[in-house]
């Protein structure tokens, strides 16, 4: 297959992000510590430029380039757009947190940018090779970021755990990919789909084994039960600015690969894989919501909350309908928005030398800083799925997806666990609003982070009242 330069314009967003990441790395070498504003500004500028590029190349029919390895379509555009926009508050909060920890270095920006690049490649992957490349780019950056604070033994431990388990998951995924390749002789998704439609491949035991391994690999990256063990430890062990990244955006990319592989390449095998996802979803919602109740550490609690949200995202995917896929994408974007906000609040509460990660440290926040308290309140109610916040619509749409394929009992199980989940979310509100503060140290938040947090909290309400503003942009 020949290489056509004009095709490159299609992947302009990726090119912009990569150039930005490389420039940040280069500039930083020439900067004194005091001038770190420049790489930071460049990062935010790159994200905006990449978003603009995404808008620029979007629209029209889907285009497949680079020898069938890369696809640009409506789904990829909307997920990439969301990814890049949510990355902006992420870096703003991240800088705030690292400044408070005296760890503000450009590695955070570079690694963060490369991980975003990895996610964008995952989103646009049209074959297993590019999917795997994107995934590895993402996870390698994340492993390094977890150990970002060099003298933190907890961070090192978490990075090690994450690396070992992540490598295992990658291995499983790769193993599955090789089986699928062996059974079909194709490595790109449309090719595999074609082989499956043509006939015999689906009955092939090797293929079904491959499918199972691929599902496990995806479940690992999502953190679905029973492949969730790494999440609480990694969330807790990383410094909050890093947890912020790990806990939010990768879910958007994970949805993308799940949809590309399961909804795209294995569309015909819906009957085979949806039951696996049903089990994963039920287990994730059960374990995530129940175990979260016992947590005293907010980051661990949010890790389990993530696990339960993953269960909900799976509900949308397993429906196997277009509405379901769209609901899952919407859920992932909303989730990323909520998670970024929640970790952002923790960062805002950090002080020099004091890391806020215990629930009781939130006590009396309403008396200390009412704005942060109301932002957190909105995020918590949104995570619990209480209207009029946007989290409600996210849950509603995935529930509608499962009811539409007559799995109403699954919807009943899901709402049942969301009641259990509501308890630990409103317990956070209880600490903030009903308890007296433990200390009256003033909360010091940088102007940018404070503004962004207010926007983030209001977004919960705005999109809750006008869900179409966000939902309309999520296209399949």
């Amino acid at each position: 297959m020949e290489f056509d330069n004009s095709q490159l314009i299609t992947m302009l967003p990726e090119i912009v992000v990569m150039t930005g990441a490389l420039l940040v790395m280069l500039i930083d070498l020439m900067m004194r510590d005091s001038d770190r504003m420049w790489p930071y500004a460049l990062t935010l500028g790159t994200l905006l430029a990449a978003f603009a590029a995404t808008v620029f190349v979007s629209g029209g029919d889907s285009e497949v380039i680079l020898g069938g390895n890369y696809v640009r379509d409506a789904m990829g555009d909307s997920l990439k757009g969301a990814l890049l926009l949510i990355a902006i508050p992420l870096f703003i909060y991240g800088r705030e947190g690292l400044l408070k920890m005296d760890e503000w270095r450009s590695e955070y920006l570079t690694l963060g940018m490369f991980s975003i690049l990895g996610m964008m490649i995952m989103i646009s992957a049209n074959g297993f090779i590019s999917l795997y490349l994107g995934l590895e780019l993402l996870t390698l950056c994340l492993y390094a970021l977890v150990a970002y604070v060099r003298d933190s033994s907890k961070g090192a431990e978490a990075a090690m755990k994450y690396f070992v388990l992540g490598a295992l998951a990658s291995g499983l995924l790769l193993y599955g990919i090789s089986m699928i390749y062996g059974a079909t002789g194709k490595i790109d998704f449309p090719g595999i789909l074609q082989q499956l439609s043509a006939g015999s491949a689906a009955d092939n035991t090797v293929f079904v084994f491959g499918l199972v391994f691929v599902v496990i690999g995806i479940a690992f990256k999502f953190g679905a039960v029973p492949f969730h063990m790494w999440m609480p430890d990694v969330y807790q062990g990383s410094s909050t600015p890093v947890t912020l990244l790990i806990g939010s955006l990768p879910k958007i990319a994970a949805v993308a690969i799940a949809l590309r592989v399961l909804g795209g390449a294995m569309e015909n095998l819906h009957q085979e894989w949806y039951m696996m996802l049903v089990i994963l979803a039920i287990l994730s919602m059960a374990v995530g919501n129940i175990v979260a109740i016992a947590q005293q550490n907010i980051k661990r609690m949010l890790a389990y909350s993530t696990i339960s949200h993953v269960g909900f995202i799976f509900l949308g995917i397993l429906a196997g309908t277009e509405a379901g896929y769209r609901a899952a994408m919407f859920y992932a974007v909303v989730y990323a928005l909520m998670a970024v906000g929640a970790f952002g609040i923790l960062i805002a509460l950090d002080r020099k030398g004091v890391v806020v990660d215990q629930l009781h440290q939130l006590k009396g926040l309403n008396d200390r800083h009412p704005w942060l308290a109301i932002t957190m309140l909105l995020i918590m109610f949104s995570m619990a799925g209480v209207p009029p916040t946007v989290g409600f619509w996210a849950k509603l749409f995935v529930l509608e997806a499962v009811v539409s394929i007559d799995l109403w009992w699954l919807a009943v199980i899901a709402v049942f666990f969301s009641i259990i989940g509501a308890f630990y979310y409103i317990r956070v509100v209880k600490f903030m609003y009903f308890d007296k503060p433990l200390d009256d140290e003033p909360v010091i938040v940088g102007g940018a982070a404070q503004t962004m947090l207010a926007v983030n909290g209001m977004a919960m309400l705005l999109f809750g009242l006008f869900p179409v503003l966000l939902f309309g942009l999520i296209k399949l």
């Binding site: 209480v386 409600f392 509603l396 509608e400 308890f423 317990r427 609003y433 009903f434």
Partner: protein, 504 residues
């Protein structure tokens, strides 16, 4: 009929936006926020009056309808409208909110702006619940009620407020999420989110039973019915006075309203099959909870249990309809039952609000709700005693007060269904009198024994205004309920005709 102004939207959003303004005015200038809150509340009430005056009581169709696309992908609309069932409840809401604002005037010193703002937002949301004709819009308003109430109890409540408010939240959340699944199911059956479309949707009996169960959990928790009533005494006791008033006067009515708007018309056959079950637990609420109220030593708890008992009348009135259907004169009896339930809801809205405000008056002075801490209040607070005795009498169902009308109608209707239902329901006239009057006797009458009671001041003008206006309403509704019944008549007749037709 279409008025030029979107009155319903104004009545929903004015208090919410006003509430946000009050919140923004901050706690530094409490008087500004108080007056602002009062102005918003009064303006909302005045704007809701056209709903009554412009109402065409000759038709059962929805009036003041507004419709706009909200989420086209799922056919979700911003669809508002009222009929004879919801309109009186909206007026009740806007009226009671003014009283709550006035009642909290001096009493609330901790974050008064947030307090007033919570109630105003609550008001808009509750009006939204009554006015919503799209099931998702209804659900959004329904759940959004939890938020302000959760904070009201949790921030301004009594010593055990955290337990009470979390219990309140989880109980109601538990109820409502199953309703959500049922609504989604109905959406896939009908392809629409409109409540009125659900009314005409054909459903098999198994579907109906499951949907009925899901609705029932939601509404039974809200009413609350025995045995899911246990959150109410806790929430009432710990809530600030205003919170108790809104809970008792409006939020409980939303459960009853849900039965009329959802359970009965959407699943008439399931309602018919399970009517004996609902009637039984309603009667348990009426009789057994009445006895429970008798032994309470805490005034607020006593009134809370009395609320549950009175709400038992409401659900009884609604569901005996299905029993009456098999008798002759079916329609008039059925209408009587539902209208009785509705009158009981409105009247209980006034009376329970008044009772909680009376307890609030005492609590503000002595900071105790224990009956045993009082005695001989009449000697030092004669005006207050007069009000309290009046409201107690109406709570016990004295003829001439609104409490009598609803109970009487329901009892008459029960006779058409079964003598023993009427007999058990009528017991409440005795028990109700017993627990209310006994409480009054111990609190108001007798000699002043406690020194603290001797120093009490009588009600001031603000409190007299609040209690006085409620007294007027109770009397008015008691001696002349005809206007209320008239506006409901067409809608309820339509409902009765609708549920008489099987959907199988």
């Amino acid at each position: 009929m279409s008025a030029d102004l979107p009155i319903l939207s104004i009545v929903v959003w004015l208090p919410i936006i006003g509430g946000l303004l009050v919140l923004g005015s901050g706690d530094k200038a409490p008087n500004v926020s108080r007056w602002l809150a009062l102005m918003v509340a009064v303006a909302t009430f005045l704007l809701s009056i056209p709903l009554w005056s412009g109402f065409d009581s000759g038709t059962a169709a929805m009036q003041f309808v507004e419709k706009a696309a909200w989420i086209p992908a799922y056919n979700i609309n911003y669809h508002l409208g009222v009929d004879g069932i919801s309109m009186p409840l909206i007026l009740l809401t806007t009226f009671v909110t003014i009283l709550v604002v006035i009642a909290g005037w001096e009493v609330i010193q901790y974050k008064p702006a947030s307090y007033m703002a919570s109630f105003l937002i609550m008001e808009g949301v509750m009006v939204g619940v009554f006015a919503a004709l799209d099931s998702m819009l209804f659900y959004v308003f329904w759940e959004a009620m939890l938020l302000p109430m959760f904070l009201i109890i949790g921030v301004w409540g009594g010593p055990n407020r955290v337990y009470a408010t979390i219990k309140f939240f989880l109980y109601t959340f538990l109820g409502s999420v199953f309703m959500l699944v049922a609504l989604i199911y109905l959406y896939f059956k009908s392809g629409s989110m409109g409540i009125l479309d659900y009314h005409v949707l054909k459903l098999g009996i198994n579907e109906q039973l499951l949907i009925f169960a899901a609705f029932f959990v939601a509404f039974a928790v809200k009413v609350p019915m025995f045995p899911v009533h246990t959150w109410l005494p806790d929430a009432h006791v710990e809530a600030p006075t205003g919170g108790s008033v809104i809970l008792a006067a409006i939020m409980l009515k939303i459960g009853g309203y849900g039965f009329l708007r959802f359970s009965m018309p959407i699943t008439p056959d399931a309602s018919h099959q399970l009517d004996l079950f609902v009637i039984t637990i309603s009667l348990i609420a009426v009789v057994y909870i009445g006895y429970v109220a008798l032994v309470q030593s805490d005034m607020k708890k006593l009134i809370a249990y009395s609320s549950i008992s009175h709400m038992g009348f409401v659900t009884l009135g609604f569901f005996i309809v299905f029993m009456i259907a098999s008798n002759e004169h079916a329609e008039s009896g059925a209408i009587l039952g539902i209208e009785g339930g509705m009158v009981q809801m409105v009247s209980h809205g006034f009376i329970s609000a008044a009772m909680f405000l009376c307890v609030g008056v005492l609590y503000d002075r002595l900071h105790s709700r224990e009956i045993s801490d009082y005695g001989g209040v009449v000697n030092v607070m004669p005006w207050f005693a007069a009000f309290m005795v009046f409201f107690a009498m109406s709570n016990a169902g004295l003829p001439g007060t609104s409490g009598f009308v609803g109970e009487f109608m329901v009892i008459i209707a029960s006779f058409r269904a079964n003598f023993w239902f009427a007999f058990l329901a009528a017991i409440t006239l005795i028990i109700g009198a017993a627990y209310t009057l006994w409480m009054v006797k111990r609190v108001v009458f007798g000699d002043v024994v406690k020194e603290s009671v001797a120093d009490l001041d009588d009600i001031n003008r603000r409190e007299a205004l609040v209690l006085g206006s409620l007294a007027v309403m109770v009397l008015l509704l008691g001696v002349w309920p005809a206007p209320l019944i008239e506006v409901m008549d067409a809608s309820i007749k339509n409902l009765v005709e609708h549920i008489a037709v099987t959907k199988l």
